[in-house]
């Protein structure tokens, strides 16, 4: 999330805040309904802290996902005051409102309360083959050395490797809102991440997955994905660079990708040798 430098401390002095949460119980009712809770607030409390308070003290049936509470696991994505955010990274007092409205992430099916079904996100991610593809599969399964990569080569995709698969970008994207077949900013950014990875040798399959009617061409640079990304991955930038790469590839450039060489592992003094292999590759 891009915030301006030096944001001033919140001016509102609040003791209690109302959490207006969209509740949905599939076993009780077909419609979702708002429920309000009064949450005592201290400076430094996050929305996740508030939800935990509600679950522990007020209503044990409130359901949400959370794990690391520090913005790295990507579990607690939800819509807070109209924007998709991570609950653990949103300070209650910085929202500067007496009523905080919380809803589950849109553009995914809603399982219960604040829990979205992120399977569409993962299915689309799988479609772009998010793993290194190399010709020498024997080397990948029984490695004898390491793939060499310079810091400059790493810098070309490091930004994209920070993706925590929280799913906020697909909630923000206007194309995903209407088109379920669109790959989405996360998958497209990861496709680009592997295309520019110097260790990867599989541009053909990835570009075939992305150069389709519902692939990267249905992105129109609305930029909402970049605005909500909590880790600064900037998927919008990645997708526009991906378009350039796909055009270049279709015009014939970049088809033969020279992969990173392998350097054999050098045994260093004092470090014991690895134990003998007990499981054969492919077992």
């Amino acid at each position: 999330m891009a915030k301006p430098e030096g944001k001033p401390k919140p001016k509102l002095k609040l003791e209690t805040v109302t959490f207006k949460v969209l509740r949905y119980d599939p076993e009780r009712a077909d419609r979702a309904r708002f429920a309000s809770y009064q949450v005592p607030v201290r400076e430094g409390m996050t929305v996740l802290d508030g939800l935990i308070y509600i679950k522990e003290e007020l209503d044990g049936s409130l359901t949400y996902r959370a794990s690391c509470r520090m913005g790295i696991c990507g579990s607690c994505g939800m819509v807070i005051q109209g924007r998709p955010r991570l609950a653990c990274q949103t300070q209650i007092l910085e929202l500067e409102s007496e009523v905080i409205q919380i809803e589950p992430l849109p553009n995914y099916p809603n399982i219960k309360d604040l829990v979205p079904d992120l399977e569409p996100l993962f299915a689309k991610h799988r479609q772009v083959r998010p793993y290194l593809i190399r010709q020498d599969t024997k080397e990948q399964e029984g490695p004898t050395g390491e793939y060499l990569q310079s810091p400059e080569e790493l810098e070309r995709f490091l930004q994209l490797s920070y993706c925590i698969k929280c799913g906020l970008c697909l909630s923000a994207c206007p194309t995903v809102a209407t088109d379920p077949e669109f790959l989405g900013p996360q998958a497209l950014a990861q496709a680009y991440r592997f295309l520019v990875d110097s260790r990867d040798e599989g541009p053909a399959e990835r570009i075939a997955a992305v150069d389709t009617e519902h692939g990267c061409w249905r992105c129109h640079f609305a930029g909402a994905c970049t605005e909500v990304c909590p880790k600064g991955v900037d998927p919008a930038q990645a997708i526009q660079l991906l378009k350039r790469k796909v055009i270049a590839y279709s015009l014939g450039f970049g088809r033969r990708k020279r992969a990173a060489p392998i350097s054999p592992l050098r045994p260093r003094p004092g470090i014991p040798k690895p134990p003998k292999r007990t499981v054969e590759p492919g077992a």
Binding site: E213, W217, R218, V246
Partner: protein, 124 residues
């Protein structure tokens, strides 16, 4: 469609947009602006003889056709993208793509035909 990948159609969309932008500027500057600036009343500038005067030269006809082709391709490709997003699904995909292509080509044919007829009428 079959022989050109989606990236080809999209690149054409970009180029058609740029070409259309350039030719539209020329079209406005050459055909509509002099009429506005000349001080003559609208009824005279838009009259049949004046229109024929403008339609005479073959370069006029050629520029009309390029402009029309570029803008129609750009417009219908954009509309097709918009409709594909609103109505996903295999059958809809084919219907939308072919529908946009056919309507676009029909309008282009009509525009080219009237341009040719007008040029002939004007004596060019």
């Amino acid at each position: 469609m079959m022989w050109i990948r989606e990236s080809g159609w999209w690149l054409g969309f970009l180029i058609a947009g740029l070409v259309g932008f350039a030719f539209l500027a020329i079209h406005l500057g050459v055909f509509h602006l002099p009429g506005l600036l000349s001080g003559r009343p609208g009824s005279e500038v838009l009259s049949f003889p004046a229109a024929m005067e403008r339609a005479r030269s073959p370069s006029t006809a050629a520029s009309y056709i390029v402009l029309l082709g570029a803008l129609l391709y750009h417009g219908f490709y954009g509309l097709r993208g918009l409709l594909l997003e609103l109505f996903p699904g295999r059958a809809a995909r084919r219907a939308i793509t072919w529908g946009a292509a056919l309507i676009g080509m029909a309008v282009f044919a009509y525009g080219t035909y009237t341009t040719a007829v007008a040029a002939r009428l004007a004596g060019g």
